[in-house]
């Protein structure tokens, strides 16, 4: 039960920050998402994102910031195994599910549906 509460609170908080960026700082959604991804990458590099995920569960792994974290993690894990070239070869290792499914389901949708306007 506790994990659900923390997922709700932390996830909600991250989205609330996003809303403040959009309304207060007048960032577009694209700029806001980019900001979060980059922040996720930086926090991942600093070793702060992993404990956040352990603590908040989906509250930290569902927001787009975890995408940045996964990219960094993939790069670093591969670099541990194969040296610095691992940064290039490992970046998409962990996030492949996200990007693949977005492309696949997006494309399938375009085969079946039309926009409603």
């Amino acid at each position: 039960m506790q994990s659900y509460i923390w997922a709700f609170l932390i996830g909600g908080l991250i989205c609330a920050i996003g809303q403040i960026l959009m309304d207060g700082f007048k960032l577009t959604p694209a700029h806001t998402m980019c900001t979060f991804v980059v922040l996720g990458a930086i926090l991942g590099g600093l070793g702060l994102y992993e404990p956040l995920i352990k603590f908040a569960g989906a509250g930290a792994s569902v927001p787009i910031s975890s995408f940045g974290y996964s990219l960094v993690r993939g790069a670093l894990l591969e670099a541990e195994k194969t040296g610095i070239v691992g940064v290039l070869t490992g970046i998409f290792e962990i996030t492949s599910a996200g990007i693949s499914s977005a492309i696949i389901f997006g494309f399938i949708s375009s085969l079946i549906f039309r926009p409603k306007g």
Binding site: M22, K26, T28, P29, P115, K116, G117
Partner: protein, 333 residues
Amino acid sequence: MLQGRQTWVFESKPVIAGSAAVGGPFESKCALADDFDMFSEDLWLGQDSFEKAERKLLEHACEIAIKKAGVKKEDVEFFFSGDLINQIISSSFTARTLGIPYLGIFGACSSSVEGLALASILVDGNFANNALAATSSHNAACEKQYRYPTEYGAQKPPTAQWTVTGAGAALVAREGEGPRVVCATIGRVVDMGLSDPFNMGAAMAPAAVDTISAHMRDLNIDLSDYDIIATGDLGRVGHEIAKELLKKHGISLPEEKFTDCGKIIYKDEQPVFSGGSGCGCAAVTTYGHFINRMKKGELKKILVVATGALLSPMSYQQKEFIPCIAHAVSLEM
């Protein structure tokens, strides 16, 4: 005849012998729905893209206007049209269907009045017997091109406006039943350094005020003769700003006289943020609602000031401001 710096007075007072306003499903529920000639059932009009659907809307408007004027397509010598789609393809492809000698124009949302003024020059100057002026806009096609895909979940601010899915056409002739085009004031581009594409009203208001002032200066009149002065699509936000600006210029207009097509077209319950916009907004409101009221005798003399924001998605991405323009036309019954 030129009067002042930027106003044309049409001595022969060409008549709008036939006019048409067509709209989409959302417009069929709008406040001015009774003044439309036709509504489409959906946004597609049986076509396979929004852009092709907009073309169909424009074709319908043109055909209905020509029919109501009691002339044949072959009698119409020239066709002025503009729209918001890249390279104004809605207008060009409609011209292909109509087969009338065509002059494409671009004034963004001011295209309706721009076309009407040019058509009036041709008829008044004996360069044409019948000239057709039309314009259109399509909500989904416009969102796709200027902003985001229609199913995209971006939250729009309260200053945003709703592009009208609609087309308006007017056939200008020497003689006929209908309001007469008395004069037109051509606006110049005004840029107040605004750059928020979700607040066009604020960007366009100065252009409207500039043109209204020029109109008064050129003709040496105040605006008391007009029963209604209507801006094209400033919306609630832009219209308030225009009122303030006019006051600063020493022009105070009573609430009932100074209105905005974008403000009055939709009902309050319809989720349109600050109001309607798009080329179709001023067109359907003028060629449907206002002309009907003039024919009923409710309005004798009106000034329509259509406003346009001359930006493109490219100019916005390149961090440019939004230059705007407004053209005014005076109609008299």
